[in-house]
């Protein structure tokens, strides 16, 4: 889609890397133009007027000027800074994971306003909830739905037979649930409990607010997390990079990586 020479939009910064002397190369997710790569000049200098408005996980109203190779942000004003999310290590890790997923699942310049709203709500929600893991499962599934990757959760993805309770499997490769008859078609099929399937179905259609009210026992939460992460690994053909950090600082867990390595 051709963009005008100068355009105004709303964007959430997904990632940022140094560029040249004092510039940054940003990957932003806009409300109306999808994911874009743009430059921001001089923002690494402490006196930059733009810098603080363009830190990752910040939502800003921006003005962008078209460039030959790269568009450049000429003004930025924070709309939402998600300070509660950024002030807590565990929540921040959840937010970074969500931003990486949005980045990985959206191609450049493909407008996706539902994914944008989801990211906005997600960053807000993750900063305030006492149940960030369950909310993240919901966000993962909704994001898959908004980008056309949601796995089939209702009938066998191969033969379309209705599922009989307690006797079904999940295969990332097949793209959803399988009946026992179709199991041999996919080597990666694993047993899926009826409770986990119900939770996944619920989380994939509920609102964020109802999702976090769900009470899910730990082993079941682990089964659901295993399903979504296996499925995401299949869709992205790689591990979500932020997952390692999320696991390290999540659940108020002791910091295993460094302390065990040092002992």
């Amino acid at each position: 889609m051709p963009r005008p020479h100068v355009y105004n939009t709303q964007a959430i910064v997904l990632r940022s890397s140094p560029l040249g002397e004092a510039d940054r190369l940003l990957t932003i997710f806009t409300s109306d133009l999808g994911k874009l790569r743009v430059s921001a000049r001089g923002v690494r200098r402490p006196t930059s007027k733009l810098g603080g408005h363009l830190d990752p996980l910040t939502c800003s109203a921006i003005t962008v000027a078209r460039g030959k190779t790269l568009d450049t942000i000429t003004s930025a004003d924070t709309l939402k800074s998600f300070l509660p999310l950024k002030s807590d290590l565990e929540r921040l890790a959840h937010g970074l994971y969500l931003a990486e997923l949005v980045d990985a699942l959206n191609p450049l310049e493909a407008p996706n306003s539902s994914a944008y709203s989801l990211l906005l709500e997600g960053l807000e929600g993750l900063g305030g909830t006492s149940n960030p893991d369950l909310l993240l499962r919901h966000l993962e599934l909704r994001l898959l739905a908004h980008t056309g990757f949601l796995p089939e959760l209702h009938s066998c993805v191969e033969c379309h037979a209705a599922l009989t309770p307690g006797n079904h499997l999940f295969s990332p490769q097949a793209g959803g649930v399988l009946c026992p008859t179709c199991r041999p078609l996919h080597a990666d099929a694993v047993h899926l409990s009826v409770e986990a399937l119900k939770v996944v179905r619920y989380l994939s259609s509920a609102t964020g607010e109802s999702a976090i009210r769900l009470r899910v026992p730990k082993p079941l939460a682990r089964e659901v997390a295993g399903l979504t992460s296996a499925f995401l690994r299949h869709v992205l053909e790689r591990e979500v990079r932020s997952l390692a950090f999320l696991r390290l600082v999540g659940h108020g867990a002791p910091d295993e990586a460094v302390s065990s390595a040092s002992s």
Binding site: G52, T58, D88, L92, D103, A244, F245, L248, D255
Partner: protein
């Protein structure tokens, strides 16, 4: 004539490519630097090449603060005037120079050589954190100042280190984050203003 030109062009292209790999050097700057070097007297070029090699051969990491140095331990770590009860944690060697220029800090340093960046796959194990923990073991350090950059990665790094070392150290502080000198209040973002307000001090 063409056969003379081609072999000469290849090293030029190689050098442009090498410069382009350096931080802060775009393709235009890489070309400019290369053509400057092509015109440079032989002797000067040799001196430059030798200086680059000397840096690689003579510079090592201080086993205590992890800063780059010619000797181990480095002059700051062995200076008897420095306050050994304080360690200031920084991302890069250049940050040490910036702080030293202020002459306001007399403690020791610890250089992490990076910041946590989960999306780029840079976790705590990529930083020199084990070395920091080793330095805190004997109980002589009373305060650790976290002076990572005031951006998302620097904050994540500071929060992570705080969680890791607060059981070991009586006082863990964070460099005040706030309004830059020369900046305008009206252009400040919400996070900067909030943190500047939280960090306000009595006049």
């Amino acid at each position: 004539m063409n056969s003379d030109f081609l072999p000469a062009a290849a090293p030029v292209a190689d050098l442009i490519e090498e410069f382009h790999k350096l931080p802060g050097i775009g393709s235009k700057s890489a070309q400019r630097l290369t053509y400057y070097l092509v015109r440079m007297p032989q002797e000067e070029a040799r001196k430059l090449a030798e200086t680059i090699l000397a840096v690689k051969e003579r510079i090592i990491f201080c086993s205590q603060c992890q800063n780059i140095s010619e000797v181990d331990p480095c002059p700051i770590c062995t200076n008897p005037e420095r306050d050994r009860s304080m360690i200031c944690v920084l991302e890069e060697p250049l940050d040490v120079l910036a702080l030293e220029r202020t002459h306001c800090y007399k403690g020791l340093y610890h250089v992490l050589h990076g910041a946590i960046s989960p999306m780029n796959g840079i976790g705590p194990e990529e930083l020199r954190l084990r070395e920091l923990l080793d330095r805190l073991k004997d109980g002589s350090v009373q305060e650790v100042v976290l002076a990572t950059n005031p951006n998302l990665e620097g904050e994540a790094t500071a929060m992570y280190i705080h969680r890791l070392i607060s059981p070991l150290i009586p006082k863990v502080t964070r460099l005040a984050r706030g309004l830059p000198v020369g900046g305008d209040l009206e252009y400040a973002d919400e996070v900067t203003l909030t943190r500047a307000f939280q960090g306000r001090q009595e006049f």
